[in-house]
Symmetry: C2
Subunit: 354 residues, 2 copies
């Protein structure tokens, strides 16, 4: 759905939006994280990551997270002063340990190391553990794909805290929304990339719908008795999000949970992730691969649309088109979100030692 500002959202936001220059909001948000105790580099990296999610239309992973992250730093759920580091375990695995900090720098460091190892040996497997929220996963897999890698990232864990999704055939929320992202070098317009929750909707939409007093799309939520419901409050009364594609989304989610908890766990902070990276140039020259990819993608772009659709999209292209179109205008934030960010900034500034 698009609201009046053209921002893609699963909810109709009635809120007025305010445009703000990218550099201004990045500086504001970075100063918040720095005042909370993040290093200047981490604060800036997280702020830029969030702003980029807004720029490419992924508001759910954008600057609205500033408030959530700040709260998670202040309550000690995540450590503000943590720095991620690359370790080799006793058993010989490469593990990026977030040391309890936010997962965005950890995921970027892991992606760089994964590509380095894959360039060297053709393929790499890295774990990312002991991290808070990792931001928009697709940003990392897409970066690897720009450098010629097939990149697969999935994970989750921490189901004790995040029981959101019912298993297929069940009527209790038991699993997190455990997402998958895959990116691969594409045709002339850049990589094919996707990044999705294995549930019918991401958990954030329940909170957003509840806060906005909105109803959810049909057939994404069940109430505590297992009946389909559109009322977000049914979720908080013991309901559950449905798995995407029935048994298929459930199977994907369960594989991710076993990776995160049984293979990499126990989960510390929020989640555990596995990043698999393949050097595609071991199989075919980049230019030849791009030519064939472009043939396939061009065919799809020209597929006649189904009723109710304008066109067939290539996963990942909408985000880049959106970023291209929106960069100069700045970011259109809901006025209330911007107000809350400014208030948080003022509070932290006032609390600073003179």
């Amino acid at each position: 759905m698009m609201d009046q500002s053209g921002i893609r959202s699963k909810l109709e936001l009635d809120d007025e939006r305010v445009f703000i220059a990218v550099e201004e909001i990045v500086a504001l948000v970075a100063s918040i994280f720095e005042n909370i105790g993040c290093s200047a580099l981490v604060a800036r990296e997280v702020a830029e990551h969030l702003a980029d999610s807004n720029l490419c239309g992924m508001e759910s992973h954008g600057l609205m997270r500033t408030l959530q992250y700040a709260e998670q730093f202040e309550t000690g759920y995540m450590r503000a002063d943590a720095e991620a580091e690359i370790k080799t375990s006793e058993r010989g695995a490469t593990i990026v340990d977030g040391n309890g900090g936010i997962g965005i720098p950890a995921m970027r460091i892991a992606t760089e190391e994964a590509c380095r190892q894959a360039r060297e040996q053709g393929v790499s497997s890295l774990a990312i553990v002991n991290v808070g929220h990792t931001g928009r996963l697709g940003a990392f897999t897409e970066a690897a794909a720009y450098d010629g890698f097939l990149s697969i990232c999935f994970g989750g864990g921490g189901r004790e805290k995040w029981r959101q999704v019912a298993p297929y055939g069940g009527r209790r929320a038991m699993l997190p929304t455990n997402p998958y992202s895959i990116a691969i070098p594409g045709g002339d317009r850049g990589p094919m990339m996707f990044d999705f929750a294995t549930s019918k909707i991401a958990g954030g939409w329940i909170y957003a719908a509840s806060s906005a007093g909105a109803r959810l799309p049909d057939n994404v939520l069940m109430d505590r008795d297992g009946n389909v419901s559109r009322d977000p409050e049914d979720y908080f009364r013991g309901g559950a999000i449905l798995p995407s594609g029935g048994h298929k989304g459930y199977a994907l989610a369960l594989a991710a949970e076993l990776v995160a908890e049984a293979m990499l766990g126990p989960t510390r902070t929020e989640g555990g992730w596995l990043l698999l990276t393949v050097d595609t140039t071991r199989y075919r020259e980049a230019s030849a691969m791009q030519a064939i990819a472009e043939e396939i993608l061009d065919e799809l772009r020209n597929c006649p649309p189904a009723p109710g659709f304008e066109r067939v999209e290539i996963p990942g292209e909408r985000e880049r088109e959106y970023r291209e179109a929106s960069r100069d205008d700045g970011i259109a934030l809901p006025a209330r979100t911007l107000q809350q960010i400014r208030e948080l900034s003022d509070r932290l500034n006032a609390a600073k030692p003179a």
Copy 2:
């Protein structure tokens, strides 16, 4: 759905079923492939693979394929006398080349080599190319998981021949049903394994419904104008199967197509596959991993069922339970299928040089 014999099927088969001992049908089918020109080892391996699919309730990948494979050998679509071999490409990739033969032995050889390499370096990436049908993918990923590996296999390709599925938002069949299989060591009852098409149904069900004069489940097929249809004939009049989970199944299918065609292609014979294998014991001791996995799986098995369901299943367990329960009784084949297999065998025997 279950028919009267308890065989899981998306169609109600009116056909009478006949029980046949496993060893008898394996010998019969192996002799067919041998008479067509397969080596004794390949003939036996394919026959056993098909019989095992029946035993674990996956009839769509079972002995009914004998007739299709025989025809594909006889028409030259697949080469009967081909032997799969492991190669290292000029660019340093490990590639299992099926040399135009059936993909079942190629996939088994690839799985063994993938596990060997993953044991050595922690992770491996193998391509399987120039193969016909690869049988039931889950049989291979599950075998790797029994040995302690996380195994991910996906691919497809050959969309020129196999335009079956519409992209999300489109109304033309453009992509194959490109499946994914993932298996990982599980709890006390063996690995968690899934193996699914990225389309709402596998292509074979369209043919089966058409041949049986049956209607398809709702919301899996569109006609050539993009309207949902339950009539399998609409598929042959220019319709398309819908992607599973909308944009999510489409994205998975497209990633597989780009792997199979752009990275590994051009597709020869039928498909191209990527097999990624991770040694889970690099991350955690097998016994500790199993204990945590069992906790997670046991929770899920005990989840209260949703309306219309008897229980929550763990992907992969139903196949093993089914095999366990059915082994002694032999295989219940539709009488017509068994008749056709016997006629084929007789025809090939009669044609043999004295």
